[in-house]
Amino acid sequence: MQDGLYYSREHEWVKLEDKLARVGVTDYAQRKLGDVVYVELPEVGKQVKQATEPKGKEMELGAVESIKAVSAVYSPLSGKVKEVNQALQDRPELVNTSPYGEGWICVLEPSSLDIELKNLMDAGAYAEHLKKLE
């Protein structure tokens, strides 16, 4: 993982860039999935909600597929999808090789950043979360 990022329980990361939030999946997620063969990107303009239980379709930012599994990408924040990473259409493997860099999935315009940031973890808390899973 990387410092300066926020993390969700569903293994997404968030990088705050000015008023926007860049989102991707963590190294743990890409390792569990294996070789990514396809990324289903969300539609630009889609309104999403921060993921809670029980999960619903309005919390989904698309999905990441390997040959044996499909993992929904859950939105770490509520807001609107402003940009999606088209490079993943031709090179889905970027999610494996550069999950925090070139493998970013989309950019959100958060609607309730101040309130919702509290629900995310920092690098340390995420590391603890991972330890509990192993």
């Binding site: 070789d35 063969v37 396809y38 597929e65 390997s66 040959i67 044996k68 889905p92 493997e93």
Partner: protein, 503 residues
Amino acid sequence: MTSYRQARWVGEDGLEPLVFELGKPGRTGYTLPPKLHEQLNLPKHLIREKLELPELSEIEVVRHYTRLSQMNYGIDSGIYPLGSCTMKYNPKICEELASLDTAAHIHPYQSEETIQGALELMYKLERCLAEIAGVDRVCLHPSAGAHGEFTAMLLTRAYHKFRGDGVRTQVIVPDSAHGTNPASAAMAGYEVVTVPSDARGRVDLKALETAASERTAALMLTNPNTLGLFEDKILKIAKIIHDVGGLLFYDGANLNGILGKARPGDMGFDIVHFNLHKTFSTPHGGGGPGAGPVGVKDELEKFLPVPVIEHEEKRKFYYLNYDRPHSIGKVKAFYGNFGVLVKAYTYILLMGASGLREVSEAAVLNANYIMRKLLGTKGYELKFDAGGPCKHEVVFSAEPLKRETGVGARDVSKRLLDYGMHAPTYYFPPIVSEALMIEPTECEPREELDRFVGALKNIAEEARSNPEKLRSAPTATAIGRLDEVKASREPILSWKMYRKHRA
């Protein structure tokens, strides 16, 4: 047998060339009687200009597909212990009878007096299946297991609608269920609720009680389940579901484990489905055709698909009854995979009442034999219920082997191919990690079972001394492991796409 080597035809780019890479212009493998000379008057804009199909002589076609068949493995080749698939021997007399003119060359629209044989055979097969499962009426229409499950879900919906009960929106499915169960329920518009298995590998009753409500349309259950374990609390399960007004659906994939010993109808199931290509020995054909008939108790009989085969006692006449006002209609164009039904009916007659019971007894003994012989082998463990008997299949976990050596169920399966055996199902059911799901069926001789267990033990040893042997397996087959990641990243699904890809 001490070693194995699959046939391997090697061409320029790989194995046997694609049929499109064979042949020459002008060649043909087909002859037609002389044509009538007629003015066709077809509109020019709908006439085809070009068709890119290969041009092969008959001998080229025959050699090509003969060679391809040699690079394939079937039950006739060797043991095929795929869990929940029941890869049993396919009697050749069944093939012979299904290809008679009187079976193959009849049309479903023929008037009833010209197809009495077909209707009689189907009617009798329905009665046999009803008796075997302990239900009242059977419909032979569905073409496959999943199709039967989908039909069962439609029947469930019709039943609740008829009762005026519109809040039944959920179908409960155990976490060990075959994927077709939740998929079929979802196709019928239901919300799928999954219940976990308990420490004994059976449906968790507490969780089921919580999940069952007035919104429950049905519970879909396989018994024995996909772990090869009999759901011994089935009567309690039936009560839980019936008490909330839901229906109980039996997935018949594992019927081979209880044939003649117990019947789903007697356990409280309201709807059952059968896999004729599993329990009733019709050949799998590489993935079909099969047949997935559905059986129901009386209260669901009115909803069965049309037409229903009826028998008029006085005239000794069979006919197709379409006058069924509550029927769900059709789930496919005609009356079922008749070619497959002939084979299943033949099989039932060959085995007879006591034979069918001997089938499940021998199948269950074979599975328990493998279980006991493999138990205690370092590297493999039973996650559930090591104390009791299994039924016709057993699920081992190669998790200990994975932890110890780094190679797991997948590598073990690939290495088994080098022994001239087909691998069991691996990674299923999802509730067992590094799962190896083994179903020998009643058709395997004891020597084969010994060989199979011996191979698994050997492979565990190989994993310790030389794990690379497993990772690089198989090497005795026509081809080794393939880059399946590349295959799904840049899908090439046809000769057309291949040409484009190469350009």
